[in-house]
């Protein structure tokens, strides 16, 4: 790296740090959601959308996306610095996650020039919220079972069926939609097509689903003869499976290209350590309990192991015997750790662990809610059981079930 570049980077780091220090939002007075999948009330949504817009306008997301479409046009390292700072300063996350991390990178990678001009800038500014329409109620994690149909009719497609787990469904302007355009194909993965579908047309009805926490945050989206323009089709008819798989590589973090920023509040072993220092378990500070101490150390080792894996993967010569092991196992490792960590966090509070979201609870009940919510990530986007299969088969080369 040249000295000029090095100085530029250092200046940027300083600038970013100052900006977030000055502009970090105040406590809104209500419990914020911890991931984009948990946005359950209008006040939560408006607060987060405003925040994303502000960050975009300051130039700290989409930094590495092309300037022509509203991005910053600078090298990825600048985005990494800005994102890292958001994590460090624990600012709220960017709510338009599907847009920033899935739809946006996908459009930039395989979309038309027109797609890029139309969608990218408004994804960054949170003007257009995006949602995802892959899963269906009866299909489980197997996208091959997609039944939602898209039938060509003149200049339109007519959509029928339903999609589930559409986060931000009631706020979204667009959906990345996987639907079946033909039933006559040999494989169940053929006959699928991919759409950039508007949510505002007649016959599309996102209905909020009540989560196990009692809150809302996902929808089931019903399609009843909904007409969308034929140019919403991405690529060719029948390419849907391929396009969906490209999208999933963005989800699993197996390829770059995302706009940056966070999509959830960081919650790691150090946060639980901090909790242990201030709450009481059976009369004394949790941190003084021998069991708590042993578990905290184990979690700190595991958490740091995850961090160091990413660091090691970048060192040529140390990438290991099993290409893809670190990136393909990322979702499994991180989501299962979060589940176990939040479950453990409750044990720090003694009998008060039995409370739920309310002012009498430790941190307003955020830990209890986090444990219950943690399952969205161990189930959604391919359950942990499926993740085990993916890693076992694709990385270790073990035979399929």
């Amino acid at each position: 790296m040249s000295d000029v570049a090095r100085i530029e980077i250092e200046e940027f780091r300083e600038e970013v740090r100052n900006w977030f220090t000055e502009n970090k939002p105040q406590d809104p007075g209500f419990l914020l959601p911890e991931t984009f999948m948990e946005v359950g009330t209008d006040e939560q949504f408006e607060f987060l959308r405003d925040w994303q817009r502000k960050v975009y306008e300051a130039g700290y997301i989409g930094i590495s996306w092309p300037k022509d479409y509203g991005g910053g046009g600078r090298p990825q390292i600048f985005q990494d610095i800005a994102t890292r700072e958001m994590v460090t300063q624990r600012v709220p996350f960017m709510p338009n996650t599907i847009g920033l991390n899935w739809a946006g990178p996908l459009i930039l990678k395989v979309g038309t020039e027109e797609n890029k001009r139309k969608y990218i800038k408004n994804i960054l500014s949170a003007e257009d919220i995006w949602c995802q329409g892959f899963s269906e109620p009866e299909a489980g994690s197997d996208l091959g079972n997609t039944r939602c149909s898209a039938r060509r009719d003149g200049d339109d497609y007519i959509i029928n069926g339903s999609k589930i787990w559409t986060s931000l469904g009631t706020y979204a302007k667009y959906m990345i939609l996987l639907a079946r355009t033909s039933k006559e194909k040999s494989s169940k993965y053929a006959g699928l097509s991919f759409f950039l579908a508007p949510m505002g047309v007649d016959g599309i009805d996102p209905e909020p689903i009540q989560k196990l926490t009692g809150e809302y945050g996902f929808c089931q989206t019903f399609f009843d003869d909904a007409r969308i323009p034929a140019d919403c089709l991405m690529g060719e008819e029948g390419d849907g499976w391929k396009t969906a798989m490209i999208t999933l590589t963005f989800e699993r973090g197996a390829s770059g290209g995302q706009a940056g920023g966070t999509s959830m509040m960081e919650l790691n072993a150090y946060d639980v350590l901090e909790l242990a220092r201030r709450v009481r378990r059976n009369g004394k500070l949790a941190i003084e309990d021998t069991y708590v101490r042993e578990k905290l150390v184990s979690f700190l080792i595991e958490f740091r192991g995850n961090q160091l894996m990413s660091a090691r993967e970048k060192v040529p010569g140390l990438t290991g015997d099993w290409p893809g092991a670190v990136s393909l196992s990322g979702k499994l490792r991180n989501t299962e750790l979060r589940r176990r960590l939040t479950q453990f966090s409750l044990s720090l509070m003694g009998a008060n662990a039995a409370r739920f979201v309310s002012e009498n609870s430790v941190d307003g009940g955020k830990w209890q809610r986090s444990y219950l919510n943690s399952f969205s990530a161990t189930i959604g986007g391919g359950t942990s059981e499926i993740q085990h299969n993916i890693v076992g088969e694709r990385v270790l080369g073990l035979p399929k079930d």
Partner: protein, 367 residues
């Protein structure tokens, strides 16, 4: 080590199992949850079956059995995640029967047999399980006790006529009987707890003055702890059975990737581990019940704490896996898995979790 079940206990078990299936299936519990009200008619039927007086001497109108005879009832109740004041009422009845004066017994026990509810308040804002940390103080003056302190997690106190609370007289923890009518309006506040089938309250005791004759005999706090723990373990045992059945049923019917998901070993094998933990828990539970029938001695304490630790561990695991194995449906409020998970967390953290019980067992078993 033997386990026995008397004829009365077997009868109670059979009755309770069919009673809760018929009378309070989960849909009913969900209705009670959503309106937040106490299910008076359910309680009335339980009273009519004699369950409010199981462990009250015949002399005062009860069945004259020990508190361990409640185990089959509470276990069956736990299986369907029913919310009911039977646990607190039975613990209170047991304490008054064992540690009350003749006068106290004559006053309170017949009222309980008739269906008046008793609640208990042993835990405070500090969330400690060990009654050494009780901060409520009872100061003896003017022929009575003046109370200072707050109690948390007092269930159904709005419907109860008695509440038993722990408080310190000098350095000793004692248990006091309070008539709920003595507590001024506004000092009882509903709490938000994780188990929505539970109706939990905080009581502010500051300024309350009660008679000298409202204290139970010394040592009652040990029995209070052990009998609460035993019934808590019974509830967890029922809970594990219930959530196991729920999950097995789902795994037998749901398909993914064209196979019934119960055929996948990554789901099938953990279910077997859960089955084994459930079988072990039930065994610990009924052995502990047997032990307590001969009094709260060391062997009973060991057995009860083992049952409690096994229960917390098994129920936490079984309900966590139930959510996961139900997949997307498991993440919804509509799926019953969440009811069991919330009950599991409630039971685990009310009685003192497995880590706490094992810590106490260390001294009992190793030293």
């Amino acid at each position: 080590m033997k386990i026995t079940l008397s004829d009365e206990q077997r009868l109670l078990l059979e009755t309770a199992q069919s009673f809760f299936i018929d009378r309070c299936p989960i849909e009913q519990t969900r209705k009670n949850m959503s309106n937040g009200k106490f299910d008076q008619s359910l309680w009335q039927e339980m009273v009519e079956l004699g369950w409010a007086g199981v462990n009250i001497p015949e002399e005062f109108g009860g069945l004259g059995l020990g508190i361990e005879s409640l185990v089959p009832i509470v276990e069956s109740m736990g299986r369907f995640v029913v919310g009911s004041p039977i646990k607190s009422t039975a613990v209170a009845a047991g304490l008054i029967s064992s540690f009350g004066t003749y006068e106290q017994k004559s006053i309170y026990l017949p009222r309980i047999v008739k269906g008046e509810i008793a609640s208990i308040g042993f835990i405070e804002e500090n969330g400690a399980w060990d009654d050494g940390f009780v901060e409520t103080v009872a100061e003896l003056r003017d022929g009575g006790f003046s109370l200072t302190g707050k109690k948390c997690f007092v269930t159904d106190v709005d419907c109860s006529s008695l509440v038993l609370v722990s408080a310190k007289v000098k350095n000793e923890t004692n248990i006091f009987i309070i008539e709920t009518s003595e507590i001024p309006e506004g000092l009882v506040k509903r709490e938000v707890v994780i188990d929505e089938t539970v109706r939990s309250f905080q009581i502010d005791l500051n300024g309350l003055f009660i008679g000298e004759n409202q204290v139970l005999g010394s040592g009652s706090n040990r029995l209070a702890d052990l009998s609460s723990l035993l019934l808590n373990a019974a509830e967890m045992s029922g809970g594990v059975s219930g959530v196991l059945q729920l999950t097995v049923d789902y795994l037998k019917n749901r398909k993914a990737f064209d196979r019934l998901i119960g055929s996948y070993q990554s789901l099938k094998h953990p279910m077997v581990d859960i089955l084994i933990s459930s079988e072990a828990l039930r065994s610990h539970l009924y052995y502990a019940a047997n032990c307590l029938s001969s009094g709260p001695d060391k062997e009973a304490e060991i057995a009860i704490r083992m049952a409690s630790a096994s229960g917390s561990e098994a129920f936490a695991y079984a309900s966590d896996r139930a959510i996961q194995f139900h997949g997307g449906f498991g993440f919804t409020y509509d799926c019953n898995a969440q009811l069991y998970m919330r009950r599991a967390l409630w039971c685990q953290y009310q009685g003192g979790d497995q880590v706490y019980q094992k810590k106490l067992l260390e001294t009992l078993l190793l030293d």
